[in-house]
Amino acid sequence: MNTTKHNPAGTPRPAAERAADTPPAALDIRGLRMRLPRTARPVLDGVDLTVGAGETVALVGESGSGKTLTSRTVLRLLPGGATTEGTVHVAGDDVLTMNARELRRLRTRTAAMIFQDPRAAINPLRRIDDFLTESVRLNKIMTPAAANARAVELLEAVGLTADALRRHPGELSGGMLQRVMIAAALMGDPALLLADEPTTALDVTTQAEVVALLGDLRARFGTGLLFVTHDLGLAAAISDRVYVMYAGRIAETGPAASVFARPRHPYTKALLDSTPDLDAPRGRLAAIDGQPPDLRRELTGCPFAPRCAHADEVCTVEAPRRTPAPGEPAHTAGCHHSDRLEGTRGDA
């Protein structure tokens, strides 16, 4: 499992060695609340989320759900004027209370993000080897020689050859660039990888390869992975656990198989029903009427109530608390009427 051969001063401790000390979870968010100026309700409203070491967790939601905001908060990339409450622990340290030095350490060594569009995230004028080694060199994490060696090692791990080092981003395809991004994210040997829709801009065949790659790298380096996506099928196929977000809150969470086979929140079920699927019966999709709640309006009770087929009086007045599924304590949903959701989704 341990692939780095030796540990001269300055190189990060290999993940397996860290794991032996039973480290804290890769990511532990508790009660995260974020308010933006001139909005009537918080954009993030009590988010609790954990990613264990070496685990793949999917964060699923549509636009406006807060999933991208959540992932960016982990690196403390907050929008202007945002105020936050709660704690965000990455490998044991609270991101929201770090000073500048600790924050830099977090962003270069402990956690790394892979963005949606690799072309927008990589400077087109610099060479690939420059891009890969820049962060670790400038932050004196490794000597330039060690950085280059690691860059070669990681490029090979992502399925590219060392001659990609001398190329410019314009010479590589989207899929190859995304692999370079993944290699760059792994340079500092992070405990946590954040992937924000990393495959949305890629072809479906390339997506499969990138996903396979992420799985392999996880197994090899032991990093935790938070995979943000709007693609339910993808989330179901790759993650161990899933969080479904709606209007800044976690609507439902649990083991992927369980959440998709037996959803306990009407939003999850509605989302599953409205996804065109190759295996489900053909015909019209069961679309969800209406739109997500406006940020300019206050919210009482359940945010999904106006669009929910099972909503009643209590839903508009009282915000639902998280209740576990019978027999599955890890699978919880914030709904007053989870038991009304009859039937399963089949193979999801």
């Binding site: 709007h230 179901a236 996804t275 065109p276």
Partner: protein
């Protein structure tokens, strides 16, 4: 035998060295719905642009009910007549509407162009109704609308011309899943009401399955498979179609096999 609604035969388009569209042929029957499936570089978007008139073909022809429309239109009347044959809804809901023009103004423009002299107001209300937009949306500017609402406006604008064929170029790809479902249902409704023919360009096999009767699969400018959607998706013939089906994520999915399959496929193809 009457002419089919849309007939494309031997379409070719080269950009420099690259054959973006290489001998593409297909037919769209009256009131039918044809999906064109492919990944980036397959040539599906170029094909759509040629059909609609935004690009010209190097060879081949495009016929609507027997009328050839491959050459550039000469003059205003021909230009308008072409517009009335085929209309298009674009992928990006944010940029396919003029940011300074309100919803009602957009529809009025189109109606003034194609039906001068008639009062546009009742038809505008009718169109907004048909695409599920309320009167409040009528005064709005594009930036005040959501992605789904903007696509509805784009559909209304296309329908205002009363075309016989509607080309949808990845029209739902940029939308959230729940909004996508609403728009797909809307499109199904419209097809039932108006018997318009659809040409659905997409990379999403799930969407194709939901909304099309027939499908063609394109790869590197060529059509590698065609047939009834249900048949092609149930029993794909070509290795590439099988690869596409296998790439769709679902539980029990094996992403590792896809890389191997893709390389195997590339090995069997001539390098051009």
């Amino acid at each position: 035998m009457p002419d089919p609604l849309l007939e494309v035969r031997g379409l070719c388009r080269t950009f420099g060295d690259v054959r973006a569209v290489d001998d593409v042929s297909f037919t769209l029957p009256d009131g039918g719905s044809l999906g064109i499936v492919g990944e980036s570089g397959s040539g599906k978007t170029t094909t759509a642009r040629i059909i609609v008139g935004l690009d010209r073909a190097d060879a081949g022809h495009v016929r609507v009910r027997g009328q050839d429309r491959t050459a550039q239109p000469r003059g205003r009347t021909e230009r308008l007549a072409r517009a009335r044959q085929i209309q298009m809804v674009f992928q990006d809901p944010y940029l396919s509407l003029d940011p300074r023009t309100g919803v009602e103004a957009v529809l009025r423009e189109t109606l003034k162009l194609h039906k001068p002299g008639t009062d546009p107001a009742p038809r505008i209300r009718e169109l907004l109704d048909q695409v599920g937009l309320g009167t409040r949306a009528a005064d709005a500017l594009p930036r005040e609308l959501s992605g789904g609402q903007r696509q509805r406006v784009a559909i209304a604008r296309a329908l205002a011309v009363e075309p016989t064929i509607l080309v949808l170029d990845e029209a739902v790809a940029a939308l959230d899943v729940s909004v996508q479902a609403q728009i797909l249902n809307l499109l199904a409704d419209i097809r039932e009401q108006t018997r318009i023919g659809y040409l659905f360009i997409t990379h999403d096999l799930g969407v194709v399955r939901c909304v099309t009767d027939d499908v063609i699969v394109m790869r590197r400018g060529r059509v590698v498979e065609s047939g009834r959607t249900a048949d092609v998706l149930a029993l794909p013939n070509h290795a590439y179609t099988r690869l596409l089906m296998a790439s769709v994520p679902r539980p029990g999915w094996n992403p590792h096999a896809i890389g191997t399959a893709r390389r195997a496929l590339q090995a069997t193809e001539p390098t051009t």
